[in-house]
């Protein structure tokens, strides 16, 4: 039996970061049908970090978990193809993902972390759809574990992690005892591409299915979405021919210098 830590990595399926999103005509949400989805970029970084730690023999096992409708299994397979050992899918009905909130996800992850006896819960710092930046902190709060958010460097030591964090004025380094929660910032690593053989192998890796009810968790939303609108459009597009004209316009037209 290994005494190395086990890592649980939370992953989310979101609209691909390159997609120019459109607000639904009835203002209920953004259009998600027939839109390319992929693994949230910050989750990709979290998976990569966990897999690298496993490759460096610093962790025993990497478990990917996602809470979402059936299609969330796509991002779990991606995580498995990147090197996660097995996956847990906490399934919710199609269409309810838009009201699935960080607090509910955090409760799910905390429960799965306990069930799987994880020593580290690793997440992305934020999902690029709801831009909440809450789930990791909430998991830590619920479990009463320390947290190391916005990590740009993680070193595994005995029973602790040394984490460099991106804070407003620069960088901060902390030492966090295990068990702990870490959220990944952009500069933590460059995620690998899953190779075709690994994608094939990932199809055979174990993927367990659960529901929030199995875990005894109520995922009903606390926030009511009243409407979703397009932001005000800017009237851009004006051009100037020279630096002189630019300075003149900034001084006399816009009056900002």
């Amino acid at each position: 039996m290994s005494s190395l830590p086990r890592i649980l990595v939370g992953v989310k399926r979101v609209i691909d970061y390159n997609v120019k999103i459109a607000v639904r005509a009835d203002k209920s949400w953004v259009e998600t049908a027939n839109v390319k989805h992929s693994l949230n970029p910050f989750c990709e970084i979290a998976i990569e970090e966990a897999v690298r730690a496993k490759e460096a023999k610093k962790v025993a096992e990497v478990i990917a978990v996602s809470c979402g409708p059936a299609k969330a299994q796509e991002v779990l397979r991606t995580a498995l193809a990147m090197g996660a050992d097995r996956a847990v899918h906490v399934e919710i009905p199609e269409g309810t993902e838009k009201t699935l909130e960080p607090l509910a996800v955090a409760k799910v992850l905390a429960k799965v972390a306990e069930k799987e006896k994880a020593d580290v819960v690793m997440l992305g710092k934020q999902a690029i759809d709801d831009d909440a930046n809450q789930t990791g902190q909430m998991v830590a709060g619920i479990l009463g574990w320390p947290q190391a958010t916005f990590a740009s460097k993680v070193e595994f030591a005995d029973k602790a992690l040394t984490v460099t964090r991106e804070i407003d004025g620069g960088l901060q380094t902390i030492k966090t005892p295990l068990p702990t929660v870490v959220t990944a910032d952009l500069r933590l690593n460059t995620p690998r591409f899953a190779s075709l053989p690994n994608i094939m192998k990932a199809k055979k890796k174990p993927l367990a299915k659960l529901s929030p009810a199995d875990l005894g968790i109520d995922i009903s939303p606390r926030l009511e979405i009243l409407k979703v609108e397009e932001p005000p459009k800017r009237q851009g597009g004006g051009r100037v021919a020279s630096v002189d004209e630019l300075i003149d316009k900034l001084k006399n037209e816009a009056k900002v210098i």
Binding site: V23, A106, G136, Q137, G144, I167, L186
Partner: protein, 342 residues
Amino acid sequence: MFAATRSVSAAAKLAQAARLASARFNSTLVLVDPSTGALPAGTLNAVSAATQLGHPITFVVPAASQAAAQPLIDNLQPLAPAKILVAANDALAAHPTTPELIAPLVADAAKAAGATHVVGTTSAFAKDVLPRVAALLDVQAVSDVTGVVDKDTFTRPIYAGNAIATVKSKDAIKVLTVRPTAFAPAAPGSPAGAPVEVVAGATAPGAASEFVKEELVKSDRPTLDAAKVVIAGGRALKSADNFKILYDLADKLGGTVGASRAAVDAGYADNSLQIGQTGKVVAPQLYIGCGISGAIQHLAGMKDSKVIVAINKDAEAPIFQVADYGLEADLFEAVPEMTNKL
């Protein structure tokens, strides 16, 4: 006669009790970043958002002791709070921003004060602490609020600012971070002499992380969130040394320098200078993007600037679609020329 007098006084007492109760059960806590003695950037903006909620404001200052928090308390008094709470834990002396220590103190204080709202400015500190506070209170936090519709209803950007959601909270306590650029800073008056109270932990915090070190970027220039002029550079700058031409222009205009993710990833600029969805959100009077294409993720951090200027060689760069003034030019010629002519 006596009876009448008594009943009046009883009514007055009741009214007074009701007033006290309403004061006690309608208050807004504003969490203050304790890492410097000065008023941290964004606090004044958070105060003006909190004022819109219509309840008296109580500041919560995490600190090792009241004495340690005194410089900050002195700076907060002119904002006329109803009260200032020092959330005290000795361990904060070594690591003043430890969320594991601060969150239970803030959650307990919110419960004890009967607070309806707990507010912080959207900063690395509040983003770290407030979701943890919300989890301890079992409420869903609302991040990066850009508008207060009423005390339960807020607007916030989603999908990198490409949609604005209006959400209504059903929770008893609303935990909010507010986007500083969306609220005008509150104007401090003369020191009010609000009572200062020390709250210690009712809940024992669990294991906490230890502080090892901090490497902060030193600069005499205004901070990104406070600058009236921001000159931002992208990958086209080609090296960290070339950023000097942006600093020269920034100095001429009394502004500061920011960067795109590409420039930060390439090592041309420090990560703390990144503007965008995952970096800082700025809304200066004047933003000048130099060699920045204008990816969705960058626009998320600057498109509320009053005036946007783009200097780019590529006529098709998406940033020209949002720029008020676009100059198609080589930045290595245009930027020094502009610096010289100003």
